[in-house]
């Protein structure tokens, strides 16, 4: 975005220079620098591997997803140009020298239920809402 502002501010700059201010497209970066785009990664937590199968009755483990990756243009389904411009303007009004950077975070979350014994061998079935990432996106 900063590049974009410079580009608009200095129209008389030669086209060549303008090229350098363009946000690098995916194709321009060589493989090593290209960070992965924001997406959901899987991290399977096995209660058996944690040695907890004596007190956790179910589930045996659960897929604890997490979001990671680069949030850059092109925009995604959630941040279309209009929204982005609105966010940009609002942030600029509040913190003029901050350039808002969209971050890779959950966009949908699932509940998970766990069935386990307590110290008195009573059994507890508890539902944890919004605990497991279902999808990620750029906020």
């Amino acid at each position: 975005a900063a590049g974009g502002k410079k580009k608009n501010g200095n129209r008389n700059k030669s086209a060549g220079q303008q090229e350098t201010s363009r946000a690098p497209g995916a194709g321009d970066l060589n493989m090593s620098e290209q960070k992965q785009a924001c997406k959901k990664h899987e991290l399977y937590v096995s209660f058996r591997d944690l040695g907890w199968q004596d007190w956790i009755i179910a589930p045996e483990g659960y897929a604890a997803f997490y979001c990671d990756g680069e949030c850059s243009f092109p925009l995604n389904a959630h941040m279309n140009a209009t929204n982005h411009a609105i966010v940009q303007t609002l942030v600029h009004l509040m913190f003029p020298d901050n350039v808002p950077k969209p971050c890779c975070a959950p966009t949908k979350l699932n509940a998970i239920s766990v069935l386990y014994f307590d110290d008195s061998s009573n059994v507890i079935l508890k539902k944890y809402r919004n605990m497991v990432v279902r999808s990620c996106g750029c906020h």
Partner: protein, 283 residues
């Protein structure tokens, strides 16, 4: 470029956790579960006891609801939060229907067609019966059995929205073959050293001595009372009599107490709604 549903199977390589990683993950999960430490339940073979089996049915029902994300038809009556949950009481009614010898063994609670009340619950907890010995005789020659449950282990912020006492009944002795029995549950209000306790009638069911299955008694009000006033928790008393008022002992009626198999032990199960939303801090 829609990021919303690109579930990409990451190249996360499956590997054994190192000790410090394992401790870190354990600490993280315990904090999510809201537990100060990992529980160390005592009784061996506990997984095959009646309460865990019942709770596992509920867990499977809840998981199916979550996976299918099916919207439960709002239960009739005032819905879950009101005094009378159509779903729950309909279900309790469904399960409390008098046992008949033709009736199929009661399906696990979870399989009952209306589990919307289950879906509304944030937590379900089953409690083991703490009474060491089954008293089976009273001063006025009345047979009864005592049951005690410790409801002080309930995590803060949970409100009991439904509770039931479940006791298994096998076929009774042959001499009562065609007799109809009345099984009654009382809340013990006050105990005395040399006379019968003062009691409050909670619920009663009529069953044929020859029938078998789980008997379910609604003790929601009592459980709420015990949670708020734990010092007044004197437990429950259960007695069985014929319709002409003759008291008979549990064993000959086929009721299973502590002496019975693990899978038929009596237990209490309570359904809770979180009274305040517990927010997990972001890590």
């Amino acid at each position: 470029c829609g990021f919303s549903d690109n579930h990409v199977h990451s190249s996360f390589i499956y590997r054994r956790l190192r000790n410090h990683e394992r401790r870190e993950i354990q600490r993280e999960i315990l904090s999510i579960l809201g537990l100060p430490h990992r529980p160390r339940p005592f009784s061996p073979g506990k997984q095959a006891s009646s309460a865990p089996l019942f709770m596992l049915d509920l867990y499977n029902a809840m998981s199916i609801e979550e996976e299918e994300g099916i919207q439960q038809p709002q239960s009739a009556g005032k819905g879950y939060g009101g005094k009378h949950y159509g779903g729950y009481s309909r279900m309790a009614h469904y399960r409390a229907a008098p046992l008949t010898s033709q009736s199929p063994p009661l399906p696990p609670a979870a399989a009952a067609q209306d589990t919307s009340f289950l879906n509304d619950a944030d937590m379900v907890m089953s409690f083991v019966n703490l009474v060491e010995k089954d008293k089976d005789f009273s001063h006025q020659r009345r047979h009864y059995k005592e049951f005690r449950f410790d409801l002080t282990q309930i995590p803060d912020g949970e409100a009991v929205t439904a509770a039931e006492f479940r006791i298994h009944k096998d076929r009774g002795y042959a001499r009562y073959e065609n007799v109809t029995l009345k099984v009654t549950v009382y809340q013990v209000v006050k105990e005395f050293p040399n006379k019968d306790a003062e009691m409050f009638l909670l619920d009663s069911k009529k069953v044929r001595a020859s029938d078998g299955g789980w008997l379910v008694f609604d003790i929601t009000a009592t459980s709420n009372h015990w949670v708020v006033n734990p010092q007044q928790n004197m437990g429950l008393q259960l007695c069985v009599e014929t319709l002409d008022g003759r008291s008979i002992n549990m064993k000959s009626a086929g009721l299973v107490g502590r002496g019975g198999p693990q899978s038929k032990q009596p237990f209490l199960v309570a359904f809770f709604k979180v009274s305040e939303v517990l927010l997990r801090s972001i890590r």
